[in-house]
């Protein structure tokens, strides 16, 4: 394991090795999965506020018919950036934040398998986001939609879509690296006894998502490369006059784009599957079925991409095949929902904020799933595609689904991460405002779409009769904004409370609650040995012969058997109270290696010298990295 290696005093190389693990500078050199998780979370939340503001501007423009608040050029940039931001810079990294922070803790590991690679992924993601956003000041933001359909994305004269292609390529590198890293972590870093089917569902969903990323990102990488070459070097990939095919772009985009939908929503499904049992005080109903349906969703998710292209003209054979595959994917999704209901059944339900968000998730996701099934009805989809009905559908999946789930996760794990509780009062206000605002904003969009409002229009005439519901929707958007504000207040004020949190405030079931809040740098003083699914619960409660569940006497059988007692322990790190545990040392090189990417990107747009400079920086970063031992 890379995280534990022989300590050796070495003289510094080009750069003196950073040692500090505290202080603000340590955040730049950290390789600790928990710090990196927090960095992902904060960055993603920052982008969430920006992407949300873009949405508010869009809703102001659309509140009334025939408005001129935003001219078409700006409007197109705003809806494009809103999409890119929410997909690539908010939901994906927010999920990555949870995966980074929790996967090692949940499987009883001390870190991810390649800690420096993990830091590299974060920095590359951050630079990708900053690179894309710098376009606002350097000639115009991307304006061809997050889907960037060629040839419009090629022929558009503004520089925006070049930023789009390069920025997403960098983000793709970050995600690919992270996917390989986390998948291997889950497979290889599990504590003794943590078999695959003793892993929490969230870990399972993490594994599935990483595999989806690993297999879908290369496809969009090629699509973006081809787009970039068409824009920069005059190639003809999507140039019809030369024999190129814009439809190829759509295939490459949606081959990635549909698995991406599950990349966005499976993490939230995993979170909900963790929260429901804790607040129902009973195990997840149908654990294996939830796991298998998650795997099935991931697998089938690769076979449905052309349902985004029903109106393209692929012909009745293709449309039939993809209609059927799309309907099939609804089945495992339904299985998950029924199992969550089964978890609630006969539980002792306590409605703390995480539970509220999880139930909100189920309620809203059902709507998104059902409207999704109506898309599979192809002739009906001919009417609904590219209308606000679709906008409504995917917001019910990605906001009502992913964001609700992620907010639930934030409330649930906040005490673990920061050692402080979020206020329940503010939390409940946050939830109810968000639920109301969300339904006000996106519910009416179903109607707007069915009444003929196309997507991505900067304005609509009063004569179409769409004014009322658009106004309702815009008001709802501001209700959501207020709910996010409430969350911010809640988050900030939580830091004014003293840091004194017990390890297990929710009476939870999984391993991350077995260590202190926040966990020490090395996570566990002794690597736990796992005996069952929901191991922590079984340390706390026992079942009597009559089937009654009774708490185990404090300190009873709850003592943590350490891995040191077993032959396959963690490199002899099992004994002692932390002092003998060698964690990987901080490093500058992940940051340096990632810093070269945006510079290469600027070079591609503004001039060759920067390409060379960027490559030199990246190569220097990798070289220094390769020469540096993982810990000293």
């Amino acid at each position: 394991m890379a995280s534990v290696s022989v300590p050796a005093e070495r003289p510094g190389g080009l750069l003196r090795r950073p040692h500090a693990t505290t202080g603000w500078w340590s955040w730049f050199t950290t390789v600790d999965h928990k710090k990196i998780g927090i960095l992902y979370g904060i960055t993603a939340f920052g982008f969430f506020l920006i992407g949300g503001s873009e949405a508010l501007l869009i809703r102001v423009q659309l509140a009334r018919p025939d408005q001129t608040f935003l001219e078409p050029a700006v409007y197109n940039e705003l809806f494009t950036m809103h999409g890119i931001t929410m997909v690539f810079l908010v939901v994906m990294p927010l999920s990555a934040a949870f995966f980074n922070y929790l996967l090692p803790l949940m499987i009883g590991a001390r870190d991810v398998v390649f800690p420096r690679l993990n830091a590299f992924s974060y920095w590359a993601f951050l630079f990708a986001g900053l690179f894309i956003y710098s376009s606002w000041f350097l000639g115009g933001a991307p304006n061809g939609g997050w889907f960037g359909y060629a040839p419009n994305s090629v022929t558009d004269p503004s520089v925006g879509m070049t930023f789009y292609a390069i920025g997403l390529l960098i983000a793709g590198i970050a995600s690919t690296v992270s996917a390989v890293n986390l998948a291997v972590t889950v497979l290889n870093m599990r504590a003794p006894g943590m078999t695959l089917f003793r892993m929490p569902v969230f870990v399972w969903m993490g594994l599935v998502v990483q595999l989806l990323l690993a297999f879908s990102l290369p496809v969009i990488t090629i699509g973006l490369t081809e787009l970039l070459f068409d824009r920069l070097f005059g190639t003809h990939f999507f140039d019809v006059a030369a024999g190129g095919s814009p439809v190829l772009w759509q295939h490459l985009f949606w081959l990635f784009g549909h698995p991406e939908v599950y990349i966005l929503v499976l993490p939230a499904m995993g979170i909900v599957s963790e929260i429901l049992p804790v607040f129902a005080r009973k195990p997840l109903f149908g654990y294996q079925f939830i796991v298998f349906s998650g795997i099935a969703i991931g697998f089938i998710g690769f076979g449905v991409w052309a349902h985004h292209m029903f109106a393209v003209g692929l012909g009745p054979v293709a449309n039939t095949a993809f209609a059927v595959s799309t309907m099939i994917i609804a089945i495992p999704t339904g299985v998950k929902i029924f199992n969550w209901l089964g978890t609630l059944w006969n539980g002792d339900l306590r409605f703390a904020t995480p539970m509220l968000f999880s139930i909100g998730f189920i309620a809203m996701f059902v709507i998104g799933g059902l409207s999704g099934v109506t898309h599979a009805v192809v002739p009906s989809d001919y009417q609904q595609t590219d209308t606000y009905y679709i906008v409504a559908h995917f917001h019910y999946v990605l906001f009502g689904g992913a964001i609700f789930g992620l907010f639930g996760g934030i409330y649930y794990w906040w005490p673990k991460v920061f050692g402080r509780m979020l206020s329940e009062t503010w939390g409940k206000l946050n939830f109810w405002l968000m639920l109301i605002g969300f339904n006000m904003t996106f519910g009416p969009m179903h109607i707007l779409g069915l009444q003929g409002m196309p997507r991505r229009i900067q304005s609509y005439p009063a004569s179409l009769g769409l004014s009322f519901w658009n106004m309702v929707s815009s008001i709802g958007a501001f209700v959501i904004a207020i709910s996010v504000l409430v969350f911010l207040i809640n988050a900030i004020s939580s830091f004014r409370k003293p840091k004194q949190m017990e390890a297990d405030p929710w009476d939870a079931r999984t391993l991350e609650w077995a260590t202190s809040s926040p966990p020490p740098e090395y996570n566990f003083e002794e690597i736990p040995v796992v005996h069952s699914l929901d191991d922590l619960w079984h340390r706390k409660y026992a079942e009597t012969e009559g089937g009654r569940v009774v708490p185990v006497a404090a300190g009873g059988s709850g003592e943590t058997p350490s891995a040191g007692e077993h032959a396959g322990g963690d490199g002899g790190a099992g004994h002692g109270a932390g002092h003998a545990i060698h964690m990987p040392s901080p490093s500058y090189f992940p940051l340096i290696a990632a810093a070269g990417f945006p510079i290469v990107g600027y070079g591609l747009i503004f001039g060759r010298p920067a390409i060379v400079l960027g490559l030199v920086i990246t190569l220097a970063g990798f070289f220094g990295w390769a020469m540096e031992p993982s810990s000293e």
Binding site: F114, R116, V180, L187, N188, R190, P218, L248, S630
Partner: protein
């Protein structure tokens, strides 16, 4: 660029036991190669779609020099052999012989790249550039991507070769050589597909698909 990240994996020997019993670096490498299959899958299918779709020449049959490319293919196949021999040597602890085979692999790789540069320049002389038609576009980008992979591999091989003089390549670091080897063979199998699909399978009439 996507191929760079694996070269940065710290060359730690992976003796600590893992849950699957498999070394993490090797598992990561295989996952990366699996992912790379889709990268080349997308590129190759783009080429297959466009090989006969050009509206103007030159067309594939006008420029391809099969005997020359066959020699290139032999060179790359031979480099796979020298690569496994380098690995076999280091696993026996024979650093000296391993070093020779590593160098041979790198040199064969460079010979292949040299052949590609020669091929590209002669195609350009015959009027086929990246911008000429969709055949040129998809051909150069596909083979260029592959060539970049080869170049990265050569860089890693030369790094190993250099490190061996500093005494950093020992029997314990056989895993590092094995990882570079896996990558190298992957580049080879991609070329096996490219050689068949791009060069050998004849194109239909210009302008007609397939």
């Amino acid at each position: 660029m996507a191929s760079l990240e694996h070269s940065v994996a710290p060359p730690v020997s992976d003796h600590a036991a893992t849950s699957t019993g498999l070394p993490s670096l090797k598992l990561a490498m295989w996952l990366f190669l699996a992912s790379d299959c889709l990268l080349f899958g997308a590129l190759i299918s783009t080429y297959v779609l466009y090989r006969g779709a050009s509206t103007t020449g030159p067309f594939p049959a006008d420029v391809f020099d099969i005997p020359f490319t066959s020699v290139s293919s032999f060179v790359l196949l031979a480099s796979s052999l020298t690569m496994v021999l380098a690995l076999a040597a280091i696993q026996r602890g024979d650093v000296g012989r391993s070093r020779v085979w590593l160098l041979a692999t790198a040199l064969l790789g460079m010979a292949f790249l040299g052949g590609q540069v020669y091929e590209f320049t002669s195609f350009v002389r015959e009027g086929l550039t990246l911008k000429t038609n969709v055949f040129g576009t998809s051909f150069y980008v596909l083979t260029g991507f592959h060539g970049t992979h080869v170049a990265v591999g050569v860089l890693m091989l030369l790094t190993l070769f250099t490190l061996s003089f500093a005494g950093k390549i020992t029997q314990d670091s056989a895993m590092t050589v094995e990882l570079v080897g896996l990558y190298w063979h992957f580049v080879d199998i991609v070329w096996i597909v490219i050689f068949t699909v791009v060069y050998l399978i004849p194109t239909g009439n210009p302008g007609a698909g397939g």
